[in-house]
């Protein structure tokens, strides 16, 4: 019954049950100190899906991703990743299980070269993606291999941040505001890269304030408001509900 949109934008009818659930989040409550930020948030992502997590800033989108990645631990609720309960695992352990967060602000190591950034990412990955393939996806990074992270432009840093994640061949990539502060042409470039990844079967959760960009990539969407999940549906369904869009995403 559900429409699955493949990377090329073609709708194919695939039985919903065929795709396995990769990550299932059940009623998590997250706090910063004792500030209650996420209230009984639930969501699920299936294999090979692209899911958008939307909402105004302050809604809790980044907090959700940080909770999934183990940066924050929820006070209640469960997170099952490929069957394993991960809500109490440390961040490095979760990364090793194949869940890779690309944090907002990219967090490139400024004092390390592009090569070293990628090398560090490959350390704990048993079958890391060869650099050749990385540079095939991001030719610009090959040109800048020897440059220090701090001398890269915003767009190059975002490429490097995504490349670092790809090196580890993650089962699931969490992209936190990947297009923030980037020029339109670079955003388009990155979107193309993402589409290619999706076509190759990568599972992605994308948090973005740029709703248009996110929905051009995603097949399903969740919307958060003040820490509560207020909408769940396909990207089409969301775009067809201007009142939802305005109430929770607009002004």
């Amino acid at each position: 019954m559900s429409n699955v949109i493949d990377g090329a934008g073609n709708a194919t009818n695939a039985p919903a049950a065929a795709a396995k659930t990769m990550i299932a989040v059940e009623r998590i409550n997250s706090y910063y100190g004792d500030s209650h930020v996420l209230f009984d948030v639930s969501m699920a992502v299936r294999e090979r899906e692209v899911v958008a997590l939307l909402g105004r800033n302050g809604a809790g989108k980044s907090t959700t991703l940080k909770t999934l990645a183990g940066v924050i631990h929820p006070r209640s609720g469960t997170i099952r990743f490929e069957g394993a309960a991960i809500e109490s695992l440390a961040a490095h352990a979760i990364a090793r299980l194949g869940l890779q967060l690309v944090p907002e602000e990219r967090r490139i190591f400024g004092g390390l070269t592009v090569d070293e950034n990628l090398e560090l990412a490959a350390f704990s990955a048993p079958d890391a993606l060869p650099l050749g393939e990385i540079f095939a996806i991001f030719p610009r990074l090959r040109e800048r291999r020897g440059s220090y992270g701090r001398s890269l432009s915003g767009g190059e840093q975002q490429m490097l941040a995504i490349a670092r994640a790809l090196v580890r061949r993650p089962r699931l990539i969490l992209l936190d505001e990947p297009f923030e502060g980037l020029a339109v042409n670079i955003v388009q470039n990155l979107l193309d890269v993402c589409r290619a990844l999706v076509a190759a079967g990568q599972t992605i959760v994308i948090v973005e304030q740029n709703v248009r960009a996110a929905l051009s990539l995603a097949s399903r969407a969740y919307v958060l408001n003040n820490g509560h999940m207020v909408f769940e549906g396909t990207a089409d369904e969301l775009q067809a509900s201007p009142d939802v869009m305005n109430r929770y995403l607009g002004v």
């Binding site: 100190g33 209650h36 809604a59 505001e177 304030q209 003040n226 607009g250 002004v251």
Partner: protein, 612 residues
């Protein structure tokens, strides 16, 4: 006897107990050890430690170089007397202490620019420098490795009475006299508004500064005060021993002070004295035990490490905590829970007019003119202009990275602007610092609670109210922190307004989040600001708590100018009269809520796809 009388007497109990101890204990030492000298030595360390406890225990500044001032006081005094420059011992002592004070102003000015690790390193370096100076270049005056022998004791020559403080018991009397005076003074400082501010600086220095206190000045003051005590102790050491030893300047001396303070208990004033007693007694006792002998210092080091790990408040601190559990202080006594009626509350909390009177009649309460701020290559705020009319309720919204938080920080003067102007009630405050902004009536409540976690709610609010009533800097060490009637009245009114009376005397880090958030608002209100900046006041609140805080904000807005940053759009549209939308550091739109919600440009910015 009334409750208030009881409390007034209770304040003097420690002083009375101390006087009794100083009279009685020496006899015990004399009987047990055959001489009172050890106790005298303990008290000299105690004087040194009273000042250090104000510096480290109360304000949190860990200095490893206090020996510099101990030695300076001692050697200047000793030199003046043994070099036949001065005859009068009291005068020589005074000069010695003044020398230590001047030295500390110099060192403090340099060392206090940094905190934590840097501060410890710099003070240690200066301590070593002074040790070196004593040993070598200045050895003609200091006797170098040999020190200065023959330091005389002071005498009193008054109305026919002649008393010399030479000898074992007279030395004790001299030192005990100074110790008692020092204790009285230190107690007074601790109980004064200065003491309250120092405690606040230890727990949250940035907020203390934002609440109108000149923390740089207070830190320098306590650093100098510690040096005064140190210099006094050094001078007394020379007199007591009739000899001024060079190791008064040594790192060992600074280190011993730190160890004794930690063992005894930092922040208790008598902790360093107790620590000194333990150190000196253990040294004398343990060394006699054949199996231990020279290992006594190792054992003390081990005890020190164990105490830092398990009993960070030291022995006196642990005892005081235990006593507090046995006999909890009655909360009602502190300040009293006066009920403040609504009319009085309004009067008490009405905005205070700014202290700087503007020249021309001001048109706007707060204005920003083409403000810019960049970090590296990123232009966080790129030419934002804003004008708030008196009494207006204005909100700023915008997508992530729009520059809202930075803009608020610039307005509150927490950061300097690169260019542009900020004008409060017609006065240009662009160059003012965060402390001055508070004094002018501009206050901010923070997105993440910035409270003083180990103080009670009442004490937190008092710090805020003291800032406005007392000004940024005052050395009023002889009055009680609770002696400002106006301050106490404002605090009582705030407690009622914020519905915090029930938990007024509970320590903040035991409170639930909702109460803390209201206290956060209260701290901003304590200055009775005319312009109030609210940074995401609803962050982290449950839906029901949100309602409560929204009501509170609506009430606060009467008679006040408010600038609100929020992501809760419902709240923004309910409360604000005008809205400014920021996008990528620039103003995208401004207007009434209706205008903004209908603006296609704003919609595009929020939904994405807007070309930069």
């Amino acid at each position: 006897m009334s409750m208030a009388d009881g409390r007034r007497l209770a304040r003097w109990v420690p002083e009375l107990a101390m006087a009794a101890a100083l009279v009685a204990l020496p006899f015990g030492f004399d009987a047990w050890l055959g001489s009172v000298d050890l106790f005298t030595r303990i008290l000299i360390w105690g004087i040194f430690g009273l000042g250090f406890d104000l510096l480290f225990g109360r304000t949190g500044l860990l200095s490893f170089g206090q020996a510099a001032f101990y030695g300076t006081g001692g050697f200047v005094t000793a030199y003046l007397l043994t070099g036949n420059v001065l005859d009068n011992v009291w005068l020589a002592m005074a000069v010695g202490v003044i020398a230590a004070t001047l030295f500390s102003v110099f060192v403090g000015f340099l060392a206090l620019r940094r905190i934590g690790i840097y501060f410890a390193m710099i003070t240690l370096a200066f301590g070593e420098l002074s040790y070196f100076l004593e040993n070598s270049p200045l050895s003609n005056w200091t006797g170098g490795e040999n020190g200065l022998p023959g330091v005389p004791a002071p005498t009193i020559d008054l109305a026919g009475l002649h008393y010399s403080f030479a000898g074992s018991w007279p030395s004790y009397q001299l030192v005990a006299g100074f110790y008692f005076l020092g204790f009285l003074f230190a107690r007074s400082v601790v109980l004064s508004p200065v003491g309250a501010v120092l405690t606040a600086i230890r727990q949250n220095p940035e907020r203390a500064a934002a609440l109108g206190h000149d923390i740089g000045a207070y830190k320098l003051a306590v650093f100098v005060l510690a040096a005064v005590f140190a210099g006094c102790g050094g001078a007394l050491l020379g007199i007591f021993q009739s000899y001024m030893p060079p190791d008064a300047f040594a790192l060992d001396t600074s280190g011993q002070l730190v160890i004794q303070t930690v063992i005894g208990g930092a922040g208790t004033l008598i902790g360093p004295t107790v620590g000194a007693a333990i150190w000196l007694l253990l040294r004398d006792v343990l060394q006699q035990v054949p199996a231990i002998g020279d290992l006594w210092k190792f054992i003390l080091g081990f005890v020190f490490v164990a105490l830092v790990t398990f009993l960070p408040n030291g022995i006196v601190g642990a005892v005081m905590r235990w006593m507090a559990q046995l006999w909890p202080r009655h909360a009602a006594g502190a300040g009293g829970t006066r009920h403040v009626d609504a009319a009085a509350r309004e009067a008490l909390l009405a905005p205070l007019r700014a202290k700087t009177a503007p020249g021309a009649a001001p048109h706007f309460a707060l204005e920003a003119r083409d403000v810019r701020k960049a970090y590296g290559g990123i232009r966080a705020v790129d030419g934002v202009s804003l004008a708030l009319a008196e009494g207006a309720f204005h909100a700023i919204i915008g997508p992530n990275g729009a520059g809202k938080s930075t803009f608020l920080r610039l307005l509150k003067r927490e950061e300097t602007v690169d260019s542009g102007k900020i004008i409060l009630h017609g006065a240009d405050i662009t160059a003012a610092d965060v402390t001055a902004a508070y004094q002018y009536g501009l206050a901010k409540s923070y997105q993440i609670n910035q409270l003083f976690p180990q103080l009670t709610v009442r004490q937190n609010l008092r710090i805020g109210a003291l800032g406005r009533q007392r000004g940024r800097w005052r050395l009023d060490v002889f009055r009680g922190a609770e002696s400002f009637a106006k301050v106490e009245a404002v605090v009582a009114a705030l407690l009622e307004e914020l519905d915090l009376t029930a938990c007024a005397d509970l320590v903040v880090n035991t409170l639930p989040y909702g109460e803390k958030r209201r206290l956060e608002l209260g701290l901003a209100l304590a200055s009775q600001p005319s312009v109030l900046l609210l940074d995401e006041p609803l962050a982290g609140l449950s839906p029901s708590e949100r309602e409560g805080v929204k009501q509170l904000i609506r009430k606060l807005s009467e008679g006040r100018t408010i600038l609100l940053v929020e992501h809760d759009m419902d709240a923004v549209f309910e409360l604000a009269e005008r809205i400014t939308v920021l996008h990528e550091g620039r103003v995208l739109a401004e207007g009434t809520p209706k205008e903004i919600s209908n603006d296609p440009l704003v919609r595009e910015a929020y939904l994405g796809g807007l070309a930069p």
